[in-house]
């Protein structure tokens, strides 16, 4: 006899883990989290900072409220120590980006972030893993999962060969989308983008612990030992773009490098909602701040959104008229 779940969440990111935990614990749902626990030894594929790369006030409100709620949630699961305040500096090379950054900074100030001249102070960064062990969600590795996405019908799931009834399948992070959504079912709104993560040997001190160069497609985060994690968008001129953002000393040794993909939206705004015909629920385009959006996402899936949240999610659905929500692109590379 097959077991049933209200939700099957695909993804090993902090967002996926928190989402599964909140649905199971706070909303009392039966949740299956499909993920291999991430190895701390792997190079990070993203930097989780509560700084939405956005100019729309509705998005800032949702992100800021969600951040406060996420901080409280992490406090209840003894994970508050993973949250650290960090200065983030965004450097604009192009005139258009400088103007966009000025708008973003004004919005950040309006929502209580200490922002001056491209520097955003005391931005919450998540540094550490979120464990799903005590979340009441059941965990299973992707290797045990069978996933039928053929034909014009809702996706079906098997666990260890046994059919499982699931109310809603959720692809909760980029890796889950890339691994499970067949190319033919990708909406034109979403695109896969090549990425490179590099860890350098210790470098000179960066101007801020987290640096973003949107016009060069580079994000840097400096570690305690001085080594720098660099995330670079796109596949062209990766090394010279990365090096152009680093302070040296040169030549600077690379300790580790990995290539992967992420999911971006063509209009720069988050894309959240169901896809036809598979009825998969897709969460994409949340950027660096995605880890801090689990509480409103859990309410959305549980049918418990506030009116403002419901409006925001409706506007950001994959099938909505999205002209009024287009935002800063995560990538220009």
């Amino acid at each position: 006899m097959s077991k049933g779940y209200d939700f099957a969440i695909f993804g090993a990111s902090p967002l996926a883990t928190l989402l599964a935990g909140l649905l199971a614990y706070d909303h009392g749902r039966q949740v299956l989290l499909i993920a291999d626990p991430p190895s701390a030894e792997r190079l990070p594929r993203q930097i989780d900072i509560a700084l939405p790369f956005a100019t729309r006030p509705q998005s800032w409100r949702l992100f800021r409220e969600a951040e406060a709620e996420t901080r409280a949630v992490l406090g209840t699961i003894d994970a508050a120590q993973h949250l650290v305040p960090r200065t983030v500096e965004i450097v604009a090379d192009r005139a258009g980006t400088a103007i966009a950054l000025a708008h973003m900074s004004e919005m950040a100030r309006a929502f209580g972030v200490d922002a001056r001249g491209g520097r955003f102070h005391r931005v919450t960064r998540l540094e550490g893993e979120i464990s799903a062990r005590d979340s009441r969600a059941q965990m299973v590795g992707p290797a045990a999962i069978g996933f039928d996405l053929t034909g014009d019908r809702p996706a079906r799931l098997t666990v260890s060969g046994e059919a499982v009834e699931v109310g809603q399948l959720v692809l909760a992070d980029d890796a889950a989308i890339l691994a499970n959504l067949p190319e033919r079912q990708w909406p034109s709104l979403l695109a896969a983008q090549a990425m490179t993560a590099t860890l350098t040997s210790p470098a000179k001190r960066l101007a801020a612990p987290v640096m973003r160069y949107p016009d060069r497609g580079v994000t840097l985060a400096q570690r305690a030992d001085g080594s720098v994690l660099g995330l670079v968008d796109g596949a062209d001129s990766v090394e010279i773009r990365l090096a152009s953002c680093l302070p040296g000393p040169f030549p600077l040794q690379r300790r580790a490098t990995t290539h992967f993909q992420r999911v971006i939206t063509s209009d720069g705004a988050p894309a959240i909602g169901r896809l036809d015909p598979s009825q998969l629920f897709v969460i994409a385009g949340l950027g660096d701040a995605g880890a801090f959006t689990a509480p409103p996402l859990a309410r959305l899936l549980a049918g418990a959104s506030t009116d403002a949240e419901a409006d925001w999610f409706a506007a950001h659905a994959l099938t909505a008229d999205r002209a009024a929500i287009a935002d800063l692109s995560e990538s220009v590379a």
Binding site: D36, P37, P38, S39, A40, E41, R42, L43, T55, R56, P57, Q58, W60, D93, R94, A95, G96, I99, A100, A102, H103, M104, S105, E106, M107, A110, E129, S131, G141, A143, T198, L199, D215, R216, S227, S237, E239, I240, R241, L242, A243, S244, L246, G248, F250, P251, L252, Q253, R254, R255, A256, T257, T258, D267, A323, A324, A326, D327, L328, V332
Partner: protein
Amino acid sequence: MRLAADAAHQFGGIELDRSSPLRFKLNGRPIDAFAGDTVLTATLAAGIDGYGTLGDTPIGLSDRFAPLVTAKSVPPLPMELVPAVDGVEFTSVGRHKRKWFGREPTLCHRLETLPDAPWLRVEPVRTLETDLLVIGGGVAGLAAADAAAADGHRVLLAERHPWLGGDARYFGPVGDDETPEAVIARLVAQLKVRSNVTVLTRADVFGLQPGEARLHRVVVEGNAVRGEVVAVRALRVVLATGAVQRLPVFPGNRAPGVLTAIGAYHLAKRYGVSVGPSAIVATQSNHGYRLAMRLSDAGVKIGRVADTRIHPQSRFIDFAKAAGLTLASGQYPVAAEGGRITLAHTEGPAASTVFEASQLIVSGPWQPDLSLWMLAGGGIRWTPERNALIASGQVPQVAIAGSAAGYRSMPACLTSGVGAVAQVFGGAAEPIDDAEPGTAYETPDGPTLAAPLSPELPSFLDAGRTLAVRPAQGPGKPTARAHAAALGDVAASVELGLIAPADAGAIAEERGAPGADLLASAWRPAPDPAPAGDEVPAWLAHRFGDAPKRVHLIVDAQRRFAVGTLIYPPGTRPHPESAIGVIVETAAVGGIGLIDGASEADRFVLETPAGPSPARIARP
């Protein structure tokens, strides 16, 4: 110490010319040696088996972890590859404690930071062109070179060690098969007479990309020693890089006097060196017994052979019993420090026994050396059947042979060498049978057991220069020095449950092929013009209605408004969602605002960093 010249099993050192004694200095200390020694082997023979300290932890000197040495006429070169030269005053490279001229049996280095090999960033002095580059001079590499040369191809074989033959001799013959010595001698003799083969020893390939490799070679010409970087242009490559014996993970496993079995074997067989007169041998495989017997025959006092397996069966074990060695099944090392070696039972109570011996020889699992495979773009994955990382995927014109490809038996390694040549030249390869006759009656290698952590002694993940330490916090915490991890470190991390098997390949690839050093770059994106005229950027579209209008807002003749400043109707609570416009362009006075086209107001309040400011639409 030096074993007797006529020690059994040629453990007097087949590389040495005992009739040619010599003396050099290392860090000011005189070291006696023989022609054929390396600086490392003579140093170990002189009783100096410590490299230095990592924090307060003494770290041993070994063929896998030794410093560069330099002299007046010798650039920094690997200590294990530099020949002992009479009268030369060598210095080991790196940070030392102040008392490095002392009499301690250590080079007294501080190992928190290790100098990079200087040749990694040196341009090649010359370029060699060949049809096939064979990397590794073990039996598989020799067979590959011989097969390709026999077909008329130009072959360059590069071997890191000063000798050819790899590790085959350690395993010995099986049944009536040709002995490794005979196979190696035959292949080396065949290569010597082929004019289309170049063999370079002491040649370490450190870079490999499609069509070109780079190697660093220690060149010995009489008493002169130098290093050179050579580029090798070769469209086809056979990787016969062998396998590395990993160090079992236990507290004190990098202490001076702890050696891998293969390291101890080569020291004795090649150079007649034993790190002291007595040894405990800890093994999880049958070949550990073979080494113990040979060392015993050569004059090393074997205190005990401990085996992680319970009542293992092997012809080597029967021979060891007959030779009178003390054997202990179901035991493994749990600590080593200052010549005190603690063995404990693998099952049952945690009772342990302490032994005193000058060395602990540990026979750990084998990890195929796939570093160059990853540099060439090859993939890696973990296989639980072998407890090792193995190659996955394909790299055009690159083939793997021998134990690097996962083969165990010598016949399979030989066949795979020939098969690798067929693979890169488009020929048909013979099927490979990797079965070893007689092994069906022998207990297979046991699992790798990790001893409990010690608060005093760190446990290292492997024996290489990464010095990666097993974390005290358990899974989920990155290993100390994790991002320098080598394949052996990753394999140990999987066995310890520190990383998921599914992630092991990706982690190894991340570290195995990080790419060349980053050079200074002044790259900048091409400038783009700011939005001109009435153009509204997409991220601002529809924010202030479907038809927003641009207006010039002023408050007086001086004040200017910054881009992004929000515009509100008077009397409105200043919150971004109630703004009716925003400054989108600076102006000589005031600023250019984009406001809701439906708004008929001409007076506004702007929220500036200095506080709210009134503003009005400037009249033309």
